[in-house]
């Protein structure tokens, strides 16, 4: 319901949204250039290099000894809790960016700063908790 009002308010300045995305068309063009570069390099490489595969050559290289078992071994990745810790922290820190751009503007100031310290306090306590739980011990 609110959307038309917002559009009407911004339309005199030749659509900021259009401007915003125009910046990324240049990025998109550069991505195309990059993909072309890699494609050309790989194609040229195919024309230049020799190709004489032998079974020994195609064998997995593990220090010159014939590989034992499969490459995709069944390993237990032990850092599940740790990865979880990362996700929590990273999502939190992403929220810092929009807040960072306005926290010192007129009308914010002191109160916002206190809020930030509460936020940092949560992060610090989380880190201390993980530390105490032994998530940050590796030996």
């Amino acid at each position: 319901m609110l959307e038309p009002t917002v559009r009407a308010a911004t339309s005199p300045e030749v659509g900021p949204a259009a401007d915003y995305f125009q910046g990324y068309t240049v990025v998109g063009l550069l991505a195309v250039v990059g993909v072309l570069f890699v494609a050309v390099a790989f194609t040229a490489g195919r024309l230049l290099r020799p190709e004489v595969p032998t079974p020994e050559k195609l064998m997995t290289y593990e220090c010159g000894v014939d590989p034992v078992g499969e490459g995709w071994a069944h390993t237990q990745v032990r850092y599940y809790v740790y990865a979880f810790l990362y996700v929590v922290f990273a999502v939190d820190s992403i929220f810092l960016f929009p807040w960072a751009t306005i926290f010192a503007d007129p009308g914010f100031g002191g109160v916002t700063l206190v809020e930030m310290f509460i936020f940092l306090g949560f992060l610090a306590i989380g880190l201390l908790y993980a530390w105490k739980k032994g998530v940050l011990e590796w030996t």
């Binding site: 915003y20 910046g23 990324y24 240049v26 990025v27 063009l29 550069l30 991505a31 250039v33 990059g34 993909v35 570069f37 890699v38 390099a41 790989f42 490489g45 230049l48 290099r49 020799p50 190709e51 004489v52 595969p53 079974p55 050559k57 195609l58 064998m59 997995t60 290289y61 593990e62 590989p67 490459g71 995709w72 390993t75 850092y79 740790y82 990865a83 990362y86 922290f89 990273a90 820190s93 810092l96 960016f97 960072a100 751009t101 306005i102 926290f103 010192a104 100031g109 002191g110 916002t112 700063l113 930030m116 310290f117 940092l120 610090a124 880190l127 530390w131 940050l136 590796w138 030996t139």
Partner: protein, 318 residues
């Protein structure tokens, strides 16, 4: 029409910088490391002090047979080097070099975009490590993942501190607001950012994922020829991007003690690249647990403290 021409020029400039600067850093690494160790380094290729060594290396790489191991996940294995390399090209477009419009493309969410892209670069190593179907490569890939988990966070936090100081996430905006006293004010954040960036690029002393004495060459073990060369290029492009970003975010980019211009950005980037090489010569490799402990118990608290300091100073000043 002029618009199209302008964009073409900019893309060309970014692309040439992307191909040239990593080679210059690579050559500098050969020479600087050699002289720090009492050697001469490459001397013959190209005649004058072996300036064409990396060109010769490139020619050699292009002529080598491209081997995809029989057990590998072929498609992922083949595209992994491109995934590792291209994000750094895309980052370069957003980095402002000089005042005015000396930037590939000023993006409003520049800082955000740049950090996101740098994170994608690490995926290339993960894909390579997994797709190789080699136990050592897999170990290297898993270590890469663990390192990313540990060091991405302090990097984000210290970058957020700069965004707080400037009140914007646009890289151009950050430089427009820059004052000289930001350097001592943000110095802890700068150290955290630079260190975390080094760790994300697997540069020594954080090169556990490619530790050649224990897991051959980590995720890159099975790669040969051109694909291996692209991984190497990605590493050096990463150094250029990290140094340029540190210069822009924490050292004032184009602002210099005398005047201002693109010259200062390049000089600061070059000096930081020298430091990167210097660190490689000076420090032994950190063990995996030391590496993790360093990130969580030193860098993350330091970054949080920097954010607190930035917040207090900013509110007091304004």
């Amino acid at each position: 029409m002029t618009d199209a021409l302008d964009i073409t020029w900019r893309l060309l400039a970014v692309f040439v910088a992307f191909l040239l600067l990593p080679l210059i850093v690579g050559q500098a690494e050969h020479k600087v490391m050699a002289h720090m160790q009492g050697r001469l380094g490459p001397m013959s290729a190209g005649g004058f002090h072996g300036w064409a060594q990396l060109v010769a290396d490139g020619v050699k790489f292009a002529q080598k047979e491209d081997i995809v191991p029989a057990g590998a996940d072929r498609r992922v294995f083949r595209i992994a080097p491109a995934v590792a390399l291209l994000p750094y090209l895309l980052v370069l477009v957003a980095i402002p070099v000089g005042p005015g419009d000396a930037v590939g493309r000023p993006l409003d969410a520049g800082l955000f975009y740049v950090l996101a892209m740098m994170g994608v670069g690490v995926l290339g190593s993960l894909m390579g490590g997994w797709a190789s179907a080699n136990k050592y490569s897999l170990l290297g890939g898993v270590r890469t993942a663990a390192q990313l988990l540990a060091y991405e966070l302090p990097m984000l936090l210290s970058a957020a501190s700069v965004a707080m100081a400037a009140g914007t996430v646009s890289l151009v905006g950050i430089l427009d607001g820059f004052q000289w006293w930001w350097v001592p004010w943000q110095i802890a954040g700068a150290l955290v950012f630079f260190t975390a960036g080094l760790a994300e690029l697997h540069r020594p002393p954080f090169d556990m994922p490619v530790a050649d004495s224990e897991i051959i060459f980590g995720a890159y073990t099975e790669y040969t020829g051109l694909r291996f060369a692209l991984f190497l290029l990605a590493e050096y492009a990463g150094i250029v991007v990290l140094c340029a970003l540190t210069a822009v975010l924490f050292l004032g980019g184009w602002h210099g003690p005398v005047g201002s211009g693109w010259f200062w950005t390049l000089l600061k980037t070059a000096l930081l690249a020298f430091v990167v090489i210097w660190l490689r010569v000076s420090f032994p490799r950190l063990r995996e647990d030391q590496l993790q402990k360093f990130a969580w118990t030193v860098l993350v608290p330091l970054a949080l403290a920097q954010i607190a300091l930035t917040g207090v100073v900013k509110v007091v000043v304004s």
